[in-house]
């Protein structure tokens, strides 16, 4: 743990398994990554690759219905060994989370003002009047017009985008140092998506807050993140700075993902897609999880799991043939 001081959050060998009718599903399979203060880390992957479960494992939600192993160090303390009661002072005040579905993540029976003040009540010493003032300030900060008059409104009186803003206001009420954002823009339409992302970015900058942004949208990653971690079948296949990973992907899966993004395509050209489907989580291959779909795969890929190894230029990649891929990209 040499870099313990510079990293805010260190995830080590995080493994989340679900037991269902005698089958064991490995949703997250030994992932490790760091989040530094103030940085935006994108966690990308297709549906079912374990992105959301990773986030929920970090904050201790996944252990309610699965088994979480590994270590999650937050300021040197392992969050996974803490009880729910101990976690109460980390959750909401130091680490916050926003969800994919803004329509359901607010309590329909409480006014927006009460829900913001609730966080302040739990984590700060502000009195009633100060809480109200802070709630107005927060709504103002997330760009809700005439904030003071909207405190008394109920969630159903807000649109989807506005609700996500309210959710952000609640999550940021106690100035967290890390925000876990679980596909915060997926349920919103494109123009609102962009607004919400810009808002998150500017708030992260102003408050010096780190964000882990889960998404399946590479465009969002390119636009917002500093670093990116690509997940496939519960494993990290590639991490690195966004510029490096998107420009010079070292892993065939990342390469496949990037090739699938339609860009400057003439009309009526067939779109590229990675052949095959991801493996079932109860039958992960012994070797590289991507091997069955990989055009590069050889015997070694089927037999041994490639480790996530650091390559020269700030990229870590889990592939036996990183050198070859590089040549292919450069060619």
């Amino acid at each position: 743990m040499t870099n313990q001081n510079e990293s805010l959050l260190q995830v080590r060998d995080l493994t989340t398994t679900f037991h269902s009718k005698g089958r064991v599903l490995r949703a997250v399979d030994g992932i490790s990554f760091d989040v530094r203060a103030g940085e935006v880390l994108g966690l990308v992957g297709e549906s079912g690759s374990g992105k959301s479960i990773s986030l929920r494992s970090i904050i201790g939600l996944a252990r309610d219905y699965g088994t979480v192993e590994g270590n999650v160090y937050w300021k040197g303390e392992d969050l996974l060994t803490q009880t729910d009661k101990q976690l109460q002072c980390v959750r909401g005040s130091q680490i916050s989370m926003i969800f994919q579905e803004p329509m359901t993540s607010l309590n329909p029976l409480l006014t927006v003002g009460l829900q913001i003040e609730e966080n302040l009540k739990a984590h700060t010493d502000l009195d009633r009047r100060a809480r109200k003032a802070r709630a107005i300030e927060l709504l103002d900060m997330v760009g809700i017009p005439s904030a003071s008059s909207r405190l008394k409104d109920f969630p159903h009186q807000f649109s989807g985008g506005m609700r996500q803003r309210v959710m952000i206001a609640i999550a940021l009420a106690s100035n967290p140092e890390l925000l876990l954002a679980d596909e915060p823009t997926t349920a919103l339409d494109v123009t609102i998506q962009d607004q919400i992302l810009q808002l998150l970015l500017s708030l992260a900058k102003d408050l010096n807050m780190a964000i882990v942004l889960v998404t399946h949208d590479l465009g969002v990653v390119a636009q917002t993140c500093d670093r990116v971690a690509v997940m496939y079948a519960g494993r990290l296949v590639e991490t690195g700075s966004v510029r490096d990973v998107l420009k010079r992907p070292q892993h065939p899966y990342t390469l496949g993902l990037l090739k699938s993004v339609p860009e400057n395509m003439p009309p009526r050209t067939p779109l590229y897609s990675v052949p095959g489907t991801p493996p079932a989580l109860d039958a992960l291959p012994k070797g590289c999880a991507f091997a069955p779909r990989c055009h590069k795969a050889e015997d070694v890929c089927l037999g041994t799991k490639p480790p996530l190894s650091v390559l020269g230029d700030g990229i870590s990649s889990a592939c036996h043939f990183t050198a070859d891929i590089r040549e292919e990209v450069l060619a």
Binding site: L87, S105, L106, P108, L110, H156
Partner: protein, 291 residues
């Protein structure tokens, strides 16, 4: 005058009712509400409505059939049946409340806690529910009353002991549903205490079926109370209670039918009132989909 102004001026200012208020202005609810409110009135001020003392004997008027002087007739001791039915409201409305309220409070608390915390408590609770609902409700209540001895208080205890399980089961199911929603997870990741999440976030969202069930249960409690009264396990004579009144008239059913019929009608009407109100509230309180 601009176009908008003319438009506003010509549109008749019809006051729009809130859709929920509108839903309450249906004959079913109005009838139920009328029955319930008059029942409560009769229960609170029986002396204002009852023409005679319910326990006063009149040996010149024994088993008189209904007349202007005694609209519901008199019983075998010359007591006025109408007055006894009216005074019985006090007892039976009390039964409706006390035989359900404590069961509901206990059931809601236990149900929420086991639903939220799960684990071994939830498993044990599940077995307890299974065991309880295996027995017919009335048989179990009668068994408990038999142990505790007859009387109203013991009847409340017996009903609460059995009935709370049903409320707990309902609450547990509702809380489990609510727990899958994102705002429950959100409350958790915001670092709120479990008590707060349960009682401030989950439970208020789960009250609708509870209130409806409570209303129906009050109607059933009146039936149960009168059944036990009839069997001599609930209210004790000479206290006026509908079940007791029916039991008193039982031997005279061929000669003085009014002694049993009139309290029977009171039971039916009051039960109907609770059911009508319960059904209408179920429609009105349904939170989602009522946009």
């Amino acid at each position: 005058m601009t176009q908008l102004d003319t438009l506003q001026a010509t549109t008749p200012q019809k006051k729009k009712l809130h859709p929920r208020v509108k839903a309450l202005l249906r004959p079913g609810f109005l009838l139920g509400f009328f029955i319930l409110s008059s029942s409560i009135l009769l229960a609170v001020f029986p002396w204002a409505f009852a023409p005679y003392d319910p326990n006063a004997f009149d040996f010149n008027a024994i088993q008189k059939s209904p007349s202007w002087a005694h609209p519901f007739g008199t019983d075998n001791l010359g007591r006025d049946t109408l007055s006894r039915v009216i005074w019985a409201y006090q007892v039976d409305m009390q039964i409706a409340f006390f035989a359900t309220f404590f069961a509901m409070v206990i059931g809601v608390i236990v149900g929420s806690l086991v639903a939220y915390h799960g684990g071994i408590a939830d498993v044990l609770f599940g077995r307890l529910v299974d065991v309880t609902i295996t027995f017919p409700f009335l048989v179990l209540v009668i068994a408990v009353v038999a142990v505790l001895g007859p009387g109203l208080t013991n009847m409340y205890v017996a009903v609460t002991l059995v009935q709370w399980v049903y409320y707990a089961r309902l609450t547990r199911a509702e809380i489990m549903t609510q727990m899958t929603s994102d705002y429950a997870s959100a409350g958790k990741v915001m670092g709120y205490s479990s008590t707060r999440i349960i009682f401030r976030h989950l439970l208020p969202n789960a009250t609708t079926p509870l209130i409806t069930y409570w209303m129906t249960d009050m109607a059933l409690a009146i039936l149960l109370g009168s059944s036990l009264g009839y069997l001599g396990l609930g209210a004790q004579p000479p206290q006026a209670e509908w079940g007791v009144l029916i039991a008193e008239g039982r031997n005279f059913i061929t000669t003085a039918w009014w002694m049993s019929l009139m309290p029977g009608i009171a039971i039916v009407v009051t039960g109907l009132g609770f059911s009508l109100v319960g059904d209408s509230l179920a429609d009105v309180l349904r939170p989602r989909g009522a946009s």
